[in-house]
Subunit: 482 residues, 2 copies
Amino acid sequence: MDKKDENEYITVKKSENFSEWYSQVIIKSGFVDHSEVSGCLVFRPSAYGAWQIVVGAIDKLFREDGIENVYFPLLIPEKFLRKEQEHLEGFSPEVAWVTQTGDTELEERLAIRPTSETIMYASYSKWIRSWRDLPMRYNQWNNVLRWEFKHPTPFIRSREFLWNEGHTVFATEKEAYAEGEVILGIYNKVLLEYLALPGIPGKKTDKEKFAGALESHSIEHIMPDGWAIQGPDWHFDGQNFAKAFDIKFLDKEGKTQYAWQNTFAISTRELGVMVSVHGDDKGLVLPPRVAYIQVVIVPIYKKDNQGKVNEYAESVFKRIRKEFRARMDHRDGYSPGFKFNEWEMKGVPIRIEIGERDMAKDMAVLALRDTGEKKEVKVEDIAKTLAAELDAMHARMLAKAEKFLKDNTHHAGSYEELKRILKEKGGIVGAPWCGSRKCEDKVKDEIGAKITNIPYHQKKEDKKCVVCGEKADSLANFARSY
Amino acid sequence: MDKKDENEYITVKKSENFSEWYSQVIIKSGFVDHSEVSGCLVFRPSAYGAWQIVVGAIDKLFREDGIENVYFPLLIPEKFLRKEQEHLEGFSPEVAWVTQTGDTELEERLAIRPTSETIMYASYSKWIRSWRDLPMRYNQWNNVLRWEFKHPTPFIRSREFLWNEGHTVFATEKEAYAEGEVILGIYNKVLLEYLALPGIPGKKTDKEKFAGALESHSIEHIMPDGWAIQGPDWHFDGQNFAKAFDIKFLDKEGKTQYAWQNTFAISTRELGVMVSVHGDDKGLVLPPRVAYIQVVIVPIYKKDNQGKVNEYAESVFKRIRKEFRARMDHRDGYSPGFKFNEWEMKGVPIRIEIGERDMAKDMAVLALRDTGEKKEVKVEDIAKTLAAELDAMHARMLAKAEKFLKDNTHHAGSYEELKRILKEKGGIVGAPWCGSRKCEDKVKDEIGAKITNIPYHQKKEDKKCVVCGEKADSLANFARSY
């Protein structure tokens, strides 16, 4: 037997070398490719297709809630970035600057947006005059660039990524704050219902909050290597940007007031989390609702029955192709085994195998990507069966991901325990924390873990900070984090 | 009476000063706004919403035809741009260059994509190995930047714009060429069915073709000022880029061949054409299928019946809000006249007026944006009536635009006639042309008109070139063109 081509399988186990597994799986499965510009990915149809479905789902929920889409320029004048000092300091080390157009040097450098607060708020300041103009709940779906100097990891730390950036304006603090729960609820719903990705929602610490915001809130995931990773977030900006950008309105009493603002985002990073959480040693395992190809039909024939089997397989394909994202694999010259392997690596949820014996019984064999199980099913009911199997697979993948999250969420009652769990098990560890930056920094310095967030819905308990022993405000979630 | 606020109406007539009318209408209607970066627009919800609908319609037809979406990086290494000489010369004067990231100078400049052939084809060259990999029909929806130095006009000549760029690869010339008709058919269908914009399809001359292509084909519109404007296009690249980027495949016989390629695009420029063709002296007139708000309800009340009328109007709103993009204008403190004017300027297709007398009869008044006509209709049937009225309005707007196109498409049998028509009437003038660059240049130099395209489906006639008197190959369409 020939040596197998290394491009055709993943050479390491996910449990043994997650980072190498990840690097291989995203490329070999044809999900993405590297480009010549380090940190900038090529999204192939499977990756872009999943993102397009996520965008569609969130966009629909946003609109139903009254959020409106806009599009602002890619390029931001440097002077805008300089308006909010904390924001500038947070982003300027990562900004890609346009300095020339054609052969001409620009008088003022233009930043490729790392995020669009500054250019949007300059317009908001012109547009908003009275309480009647509020709320203004604008969102854009676009590409942003952050030239991070840390080692780029596809999706997880990409220099260019796709996202939504919501930038909303309200007349009152209360309305602005109330929007946050709605937004995180929408993100969470789509993560669960489409990507089968659970997470832990909570509030960021002051240290970890967004540059320029009063509060940041996030949904945090856990990766297979036990490191945490931040998912979508919502930032309560208060009146910080309103003051920097002069976003004022006349209230009902005719008094001028600064507006209250939010910012929120979900990015293509979630595709990296999806690949990581669900994938296995054979490659991608795509959640059925975002899978680019949900069902692939592989006819199994020999020379003497090829025509007959192909024709039958084609008739099955016709039954399902309108209802599902289906593909017929009629490539000649590849063995069924080769094809099975390829579609498994690509993460296609269901493979339908059809041979002459199946034909004779009007049956087909379904192979389920997540469990590897095979099922003989009636061709007559195949569309109904597929719909049910895809839903069941989604539910299984979500349950498995939830179990993983739960199994890797721990509790520590002391500093030693926090240290030991993070060292031995990883994951996210909840521990009482006094709320001080000093204790937060100490954990970072000594254990290498940060506070991912302070989870919502805590029981009020009388606990002591595991770091300093003072009264603990709340349970904070500590983790080594991407 | 107070002087009317100039922001609340268009101060010039479209027929008298089209360019000023256009500048006013896109801003005052809240369709777009200028940004601090010259030539880069802010798309407000009405503009972005129309684009999102166009994208959705085209994307669906593309997918049904087997085209797949991908996403390539925004930034292109300079060396890629240098690979195809003609392409480089065509684009490099307009490229925005990233030279710094954070505080660091880049070793190689990175171009913000003016179009993505070069970065995509570098990947295609890696991905395509055998005839089995073909056709590869990839498309992306993205933003591009072309730093043109001519005076920017919103949508019409914007430095940043949104578009699709299809880049497909075939094994044979025949397959590649055949795709062109399908693509232009899809563009034309969506232009007609959504934007109510007719155009003239045809082939570009060598002079006017895309930098790097063998042939370019376009759909051309006529603007209200009689100038032509190029709409969507398809470029038959032949093997030019395949040779520059080494896109080769093993054919069924095991022979290495260069692939055949196409490129095609439609951009947000169409929104500018839509505004121009359909708008009137009151402002925007949005085609119903892309109108951000299709129906607005304006309750008409006095102090003593305000509650009652509002409640009734709200009940009408509830009947229609699921089926239509509807808005209830319950703003207090503005007169009905003020509101009518505002929604007319914004181009909302149908306004529903409801007062106490209408209520009593269970009737409402529809005001149709395109004709100004008012109709009394039964509230009971209102959803059905609105659907029919919106369809009828679309049909009227399309018929009107088609008549305009026809009325402004002329024929010239001699050079003098060509000159006279272009001078006196403008529009597009078909005239026999020998096919030489010399004659094409002469018309450009002496009359200021170019060949927009050579329309399809010509009768073969024995004519002489209006410029040189030699045998004419075909009828070419001449026009002054944006």
